[in-house]
């Protein structure tokens, strides 16, 4: 094994290790926070249940155990990839989450796709006409997009397309037509963030020496921007796209409420308001895992695009 590949293995191992530490911390903090936040028994039983009935249910669910015992049970379950059973749904947490994950993933990926399709041309177009009417127009739209909350965009889109024009459904899930409004709603903020960042990093690149050289070699402005500028300008954008995926998951919580989309966002809200401890733990842990994985992917992509960034760094 060469020195270089050994270094890469070491680096990869340390990244995975730190990811595991992050996951462990997330699991512990969530475990403690949900227990501070309240007692699930009062949500499970009607208020006229007697104290004996509450005690009996607590014993059946293992909620009468000392905190340390519950924590040990929880961790030993995690090692076996067992997230426990949801208190409300009477099903394993992993199954409840698995039922909902595809809907959120579909929504987030579609939104990210829409965001990139709109933001990349918009960012390039604005950068190439810096200070001109087109740039100002695009920047105004970006400002609007970034400052408009998703629930408002969602309701306006529903009013126009579902209530007035009646071309798209207002809620539900199942067909492509159900996906359009929530995905667009979710994409709006990301379009603004990505386009703005691409524009400013392109502007940095456009004034650099190699761009002048490319123009001097006879490349047209578009060719120069696309083949030389874009690659260099994409580094910060990739970071942001990675982070945006997190924002999309967070934004999905609001969007899913407005469009009654059966995803993880709505599930998380329900789990928190029901004090469904195992389910809250499961969803938070999943979100943490998604963030960790995205960060790893961003790291790797970086080094693939920019040879100056090495994995061992």
């Amino acid at each position: 094994m060469s020195e270089r590949s050994r270094a890469m293995v070491r680096s990869a191992a340390s990244k995975v290790l730190s990811a595991l530490v992050v996951m462990f911390l997330a699991a512990t903090v969530t475990f403690l926070l949900v227990r501070i936040s309240g007692d699930p028994l009062s949500m499970l039983l009607p208020p006229d249940a007697t104290a004996e009935q509450a005690d009996e249910l607590a014993a059946t669910l293992g909620l009468d155990q000392p905190l340390v015992v519950q924590y040990a049970d929880y961790l030993s379950g995690l090692i076996r990839f067992d997230l426990g059973d949801s208190l409300f749904y009477n099903q394993p947490v992993s199954q409840v989450i698995a039922d909902r994950l595809p809907a959120t993933a579909l929504l987030a990926v579609s939104a990210l796709f829409i965001a990139l399709v709109i933001a990349v041309p918009a960012g390039i177009a604005a950068a190439m006409r810096r200070g001109r009417a087109r740039d100002k127009g695009i920047m105004t739209l970006i400002l609007l997009g970034q400052s408009t909350p998703a629930f408002w965009v969602g309701i306006v889109l529903i009013l126009i397309f579902a209530v007035r024009l009646q071309v798209l459904p207002a809620s539900g899930h199942g067909t492509l037509s159900h996906l359009i409004l929530p995905a667009v709603t979710l994409a709006v903020y990301s379009v603004a963030v990505i386009a703005r960042l691409l524009r400013s990093s392109l502007l940095d690149v456009l004034s650099s020496d190699y761009m002048r050289t490319a123009t001097a070699k006879g490349f047209g402005p578009t060719h120069a921007v696309v083949s030389h500028g874009l690659r260099n300008a994409s580094l910060p954008v990739i970071t942001v796209v990675g982070l945006e995926t997190g924002t999309l998951l967070g934004g999905a919580i609001l969007t899913e409420q407005v469009f009654t989309w059966p995803g993880l966002g709505r599930l998380t809200i329900e789990a928190i308001s029901n004090r469904d401890l195992p389910l809250v733990q499961g969803t938070v842990l999943l979100f943490a895992a998604i963030f960790v994985v995205i960060n790893l992917i961003v790291d790797v992509t970086y080094s693939a695009i920019d040879p100056r960034v090495r994995l061992e760094k």
Binding site: D39, Q53, N90, R129, H173, T175, T222, R266, S273
Partner: protein, 521 residues
């Protein structure tokens, strides 16, 4: 960049604009096509009804849930021993008649020839299995009403005795929803609990078709139901938590009937064409619990003054859009034991000030009113009404989960001196609303009264209706006189729907859709 860069720039823009258009046109056409499919689905010839409610079932196992959103769906799949008709009368369903054999035994005679959706016959063994499964700690059932039931004895194929360890006069009433649900023993033992919850089999008016969690649950008419097939052929429940989204779904023909709305939300839906709002009397009763050991509230005159100060008719009119009824004490109208001769407080502000002055608070006092943030408007309005007699009640709003945790905690002052509470006494018996907050040993009681405790014992431990009526009458008089609560209102059941839908809930508000009809326009 100089002027020379501009011409190629424009060319590019035009080209990219064309490319964009190339993408956009098919997209628009596609969306047109897709919405076409959507409308086809809605306009099928089958008589179908799509109902939204804010929540969805926790589970489809009827014995592992104890909340109305779950029951609202499951009552259509599963049948119960007794039932409530649209006029709130207790009526036979799977049980034909019933009577107490002695103080600790209720005998039920069962309907013959009933079959579950899978063909399994219903008989006395079914009742024994169902109720004993509910009581089994392994089931961890959140259904609490059958707390005194110990076992079920099969007398013959169609007769059972339900045995209790203390007299329970309202066993038949308790079997009209949650606890009275019958499950198929052989099927359950064959497929197991988990598979049963995935695909429930009951003997109710509708059969389970499919369930996509958080999206919709579809049922179809059971043509072999003992009461004849229901009027609608297809029944779909959709959980839509947000009232604005529910309205949009109604306007874009995705649901026909919205349920579970508070008056405030229903008000937003008023005035839209093709949408009707109907409200029906409800049993859910709101009240303020007063801590009778609080230094100020321990004085009966202060508590009476608060009852005069909270002008309930005005509250109903101003905050609840008139969609509630004033309730004189803690026993709602339509409940067994409600005494018509007891009038609500006269809401006399001068009398309130007089009582406060007599108690030593001529300028009023300061206190705290705690409520769940779901009831924010009502709590604020009550605080405003109290201010008119000088009582300054700071409103403390809590997250609903925190609220219910404190409501049921050991500390009976966890919600402060005054809190706003509501309870749905779906058994329609006077005992329902007072069972957990009057007798001193109950979890939410903040009152110590020998007289009240004795009256609760009389109505709870006797199976003689006349004896109970008398106890309830005395209890209502005592409640009004001692005022350990501020008595508020019974909220209406509000429906928002298209004109095609014809359905009336009883006061429990349960979504029993057996008699619902959908007319063609």
């Amino acid at each position: 960049m100089g002027a020379s860069a501009s011409p190629p720039d424009r060319r590019i823009t035009r080209r990219s604009a064309l490319r964009l258009a190339g993408v956009a046109i098919p997209a628009v056409a596609l969306s047109g096509l897709m919405s076409g499919c959507g409308t086809d689905q809605a306009s099928t010839s089958r008589r179908s009804l799509r109902v939204s409610q804010p929540g969805e079932p926790r589970t489809l196992d009827p014995q592992k849930q104890g909340d109305m959103p779950s029951m609202n769906v499951l009552i259509n799949i599963f049948d119960t021993l007794t039932g409530r008709d649209p006029d709130n009368q207790l009526v036979p369903r799977l049980a034909l008649d019933w009577a107490p054999v002695d103080e600790l035994t209720w005998r039920f005679r069962l309907r013959k020839g009933v079959r579950f959706h899978n063909g399994e016959p219903f008989d006395a063994e079914t009742v024994k299995f169902s109720i004993e499964r509910l009581l089994d700690p392994e089931t961890a059932s959140p259904i609490v009403e059958l707390r005194y039931v110990t076992s079920v004895t099969v007398i013959d194929e169609y007769t059972v005795d339900i045995n209790t360890d203390q007299p329970d006069p309202i066993i038949p009433e308790k079997l009209s929803l949650f606890g009275g649900v019958m499950v198929p023993p052989a099927h359950l033992q064959e497929v197991g609990d988990a598979a049963f919850a995935e695909h429930p089999v009951g003997c109710g008016p509708f059969r389970f078709v499919r369930y996509q969690r958080a999206v919709e649950l579809e049922l179809e008419a059971n043509p072999d139901h003992w009461n004849g097939p229901p009027a609608i052929e297809s029944l779909t429940f959709k959980p839509i938590p947000n009232p604005a989204s529910a309205l949009a779904a109604l306007q874009s023909d995705e649901v026909d009937l919205i349920t579970g709305l508070v008056p405030d939300a229903a008000l937003q839906l008023r005035g839209y064409q093709g949408i009707e709002t109907s409200s029906f009397p409800g049993i859910r009763t709101s009240y303020l619990s007063l801590d009778t050991e609080d230094p100020v509230l321990s004085d009966r005159r202060v508590r009476q003054a608060l009852n005069h100060a909270v002008d309930v008719p005005r509250l109903i009119d101003a905050v609840l859009d008139g969609k509630a009824r004033e309730v004189p004490t803690m026993i709602p109208r339509e409940s067994f034991g409600f005494d018509e001769t007891i009038e609500p407080y006269s809401r006399d502000l001068d009398r309130a000030r007089e009582l406060l002055a007599e108690a030593g608070y001529p300028d009023g006092f300061r206190t705290t009113l705690t409520a769940s943030n779901a009831d924010a408007f009502v709590a604020e309005a009550i605080s405003g009404l109290l201010a008119r007699v000088g009582v300054e009640a700071r409103v403390d709003l809590l997250d609903p989960a925190v609220y219910s945790e404190r409501l049921t905690s050991e500390n009976r002052r966890a919600l402060g001196p005054i809190y706003l509470a509501a309870s749905t006494g779906w058994t329609l018996d006077g005992a329902s609303l007072v069972q957990s907050n009057v007798r001193r040993d109950r979890r939410q009681s903040r009152w110590t009264s020998d007289e009240a405790d004795a009256l609760i014992d009389r109505e709870e431990l006797s199976v003689d209706p006349d004896e109970r009526l008398q106890a309830f009458a005395e209890l209502q008089r005592l409640l009004k006189e001692e005022a350990p609560f501020v008595f508020l209102y019974q909220i209406d059941n509000i429906l928002v729907h298209t004109p095609r839908v014809h359905w009336q809930p009883n006061v429990t508000g349960a979504l029993v859709m057996e008699h619902a009809e959908v007319h063609d326009e």
